[in-house]
């Protein structure tokens, strides 16, 4: 006998709320805090309804101070809570960088495990929603280099819920980045019950034989569209991998796919220099170098600040650029 799993079609932002509600219900030590997360339900409605359901002791409107939010969350987590701190936008996290870099991620080591920081920092990020300047930053690579921090990015509702629950249950700090362009762009089936998606594991969005596309966040659907277009015109198939966790990267999946296809294209919207593309190239270099049939291609944002929105479409990797990179890899 099998029990029917209840599913509902949710947007990614609804799945985030669902994950938060699931964990607030299950674990008394889970609290949500940030600017406007209470009565207002968050500027993207990610915490909608939670204040009414769980009250102001567990869903907390804080003063407007990013360092204060992360700094006090460190204290709360060391003293028995599992805070989920919201940064209103990733582009506003910079005042809190010190707390993250010098304390949240070092406390376990500085005390050899005596004090640990099981906190999650959620932040909407990325361009393409015509947001005012600074709101569209995609600076995940600033955080993947911080020892002691996991960096997780879902691309769809199902993964968002499972990855967020896994992040909340993780015993160490996790930066959970939510591509705001994907918040409401599509709905996927999400089980009503609790489930997790393992951190550090990529997922195949599509199997193929000739070239591997490695991407994450809002670039996943964009890459899928470009690939669909490409495959209609060319006699070659693409494999698309959503990395989902940027630290630690899923080395096995990257290796497995590149060994098969011998070609790789990395797509991310962050600036090229120092971006996670470099680390992926390094993983391929270490694990699948002799399988490569062509130099690894990358499609990224420019080494410029994310432009104001009249120009953001030109900044973001386009279908044309992705297809151009696939052709370059195949024609080498």
């Amino acid at each position: 006998m099998t029990t029917a799993i209840q599913v509902k079609k949710l947007t990614m932002v609804q799945a985030v709320t669902d994950a938060l509600r699931t964990m607030l219900e299950e674990d008394e030590s889970v609290i949500v805090l940030g600017q406007d997360v209470g009565k207002n339900g968050g500027v993207f409605r990610a915490t909608e309804g939670l204040f009414a359901q769980f009250g102001e002791e567990r869903v907390i409107d804080t003063p407007l101070a990013e360092s204060g939010i992360i700094g006090t969350s460190i204290g709360l987590s060391i003293n028995g809570f599992r805070p989920i701190a919201e940064m209103q936008f990733l582009g506003f996290i910079y005042p809190a960088f010190n707390q993250l870099m010098t304390h949240a991620t070092r406390m376990r080591q500085r005390t050899m495990g005596r004090y640990t920081v099981p906190m999650v920092i959620r932040a909407p990020y990325g361009a393409g929603v015509k947001a005012p300047e600074i709101h569209s930053d995609s600076v995940e690579a600033l955080f993947t280099q911080i020892p002691g921090l996991k960096v997780v990015i879902p691309s769809n509702a199902y993964d968002a819920k499972g990855l967020l629950i896994a992040s909340i249950e993780d015993p160490d700090p996790v930066l959970f980045l939510e591509p705001m362009r994907s918040y409401r762009s599509l709905r996927t089936e999400v089980p009503e019950e609790k489930y997790t998606v393992e951190l550090g594991k990529a997922s195949y969005q599509k199997k193929g034989n000739d070239v591997t596309l490695l991407t994450w966040g809002a670039m996943v659907p964009d890459t899928m569209k470009a690939v669909e277009h490409f495959e209609k015109q060319q006699n070659a198939t693409c494999e698309v991998i959503d990395l989902r966790t940027l630290y630690p990267l899923d080395k096995e999946t990257i290796q497995e796919s590149v060994e098969k296809t011998g070609r790789a294209v990395i797509v991310h919207e962050a600036p090229a220099t120092g971006g996670v593309n470099g680390e992926i190239i390094s993983v391929i270099n270490d694990s699948a170098f002799f399988y490569l049939k062509a130099p690894i291609q990358k499609v990224t944002g420019f080494d410029t600040p994310v432009p104001v929105y009249s120009l953001e479409k030109e900044y973001l990797p386009s279908s044309e650029k992705i297809i151009h990179a696939i052709n370059k890899a195949l024609s080498y």
Binding site: G68, G71, T72, N79, R108, P248
Partner: protein, 358 residues
């Protein structure tokens, strides 16, 4: 409004060792006064030992606190088991009084991870190095205590320079908004490394900075252990009773350099040290008071000095005999479980160390 008048420096025992307010100081028992003196002496002897060890090259760069013993010891004696302490790198007089291990404190100054770990049951954070960042941890920890409905409190230390940092203001604001049981204990020793208070801020006091956050704030003579102890105790009781945070500005002075790598003669008149030692020293002030009260006892002092010397020598011995540092501790404490990158790096490091790399 004249802030120096609004926030007068509170003093219970004068520089001459006289009771300023005998109704209050009469509450201090002979045993408590002896405890004050013993703990301050212990802190001073430890500090002197560390400065000497650094000069001999037996420990690394060291941060001395001599001159600030009353501020640190008096406040540390005002909190209890189960409360939380958040020191900076200059507050080991406070942490050792609160129960930190002398061996671990010494391990800290020889660059050992173990130096940041308090003994079991003692809630002491590792010293905060980035300035003022610890005010937020103290606020978060105390906030958690409040949420758990306990009566435990946080006591957090910081210097005059720290009040220029954003985290100072965010810490005070969060604590005030959420009425958190935390005592913000400022040691105003007049200098942030080389920058004197009058260049650090245009405000005349640090206590007045609490006004902006509606936090009860006081200014005390940080070299008068009676004032420090009694006023901190009041703040701690307020916090325990759910009345929220307090800001205490303890005015003091450090005799030594910022660290053993610093030369204070470049930025301040070193003759001031001799003057301060003669006039405002926290230990000699208490000694004078105890003599005036007829509870000074030379034999007790000799015994106490011997006891402390033994304790410090034992700790030094334990530090020197401590097992060698192990790089595994670095790999194993980044996350609860090693990630594959850490596994690989550790393995490669081990192989090269063993000479097994081909």
């Amino acid at each position: 409004m004249n802030m120096l008048e609004k926030f007068p420096i509170m003093q219970y025992i004068s520089e001459e060792g006289e009771a300023v307010n005998s109704e209050i100081t009469d509450m201090l028992t002979a045993d408590l006064l002896k405890l004050f003196y013993e703990k301050m002496l212990r802190a001073r002897m430890m500090d002197k030992k560390c400065v000497n060890l650094q000069r001999q090259g037996r420990i690394g760069t060291y941060v001395p606190y001599e001159g600030q013993e009353a501020a640190q010891v008096g406040s540390a004696l005002a909190v209890e088991e189960g409360d939380w302490m958040f020191p900076t790198y200059r507050d080991h007089a406070a942490t050792m009084t609160f129960g930190h291990s002398l061996r671990n404190l010494l391990l800290y100054w020889v660059g050992r991870i173990e130096g940041g770990i308090p003994p079991e049951g003692k809630n002491i954070f590792p010293p905060a190095v980035p300035i003022a960042s610890q005010l937020l941890h103290a606020t978060g920890v105390a906030w958690a205590e409040k949420k758990k409905n306990t009566d435990r409190v946080s006591l957090v230390y910081f210097g005059d320079g720290a009040t220029s940092e954003g985290d100072f203001h965010e810490g005070l604001n969060f604590a005030s908004v959420f009425k958190v049981p935390v005592v913000f204990f400022n040691q105003n020793n007049g200098y942030a490394i080389s920058v004197p208070m009058e260049k650090q801020m245009n405000s005349k006091t640090i206590a007045q900075k609490g006004l902006g956050y509606e936090i009860p704030s006081i200014r005390i003579d940080g070299n008068d252990i009676a004032a420090v102890y009694l006023e901190t105790k009041k703040a701690v009781e307020r916090a325990r009773n759910g009345e929220g945070p307090t800001l205490i500005e303890a005015v003091t002075w450090r005799y030594g350099a910022h660290t053993t790598a610093d030369d204070p003669s470049k930025y301040r008149d070193q003759a001031e040290i001799d003057n301060r030692r003669k006039t405002t020293d926290p230990l000699s002030r208490l000694e004078k008071y105890m003599k005036n009260e007829g509870i000074w006892d030379e034999e007790w002092l000799t015994n106490t000095e011997n006891k402390i010397t033994n304790e410090i020598n034992t700790a030094l011995d334990e530090m020197q005999k401590y097992p060698e540092a192990n790089i595994d501790d670095v790999f194993e404490n980044v996350f609860e479980k090693l990630t594959w990158t850490l596994e690989e790096q550790r393995e490669q490091h081990r192989k090269i160390k063993r000479g097994q790399m081909s």
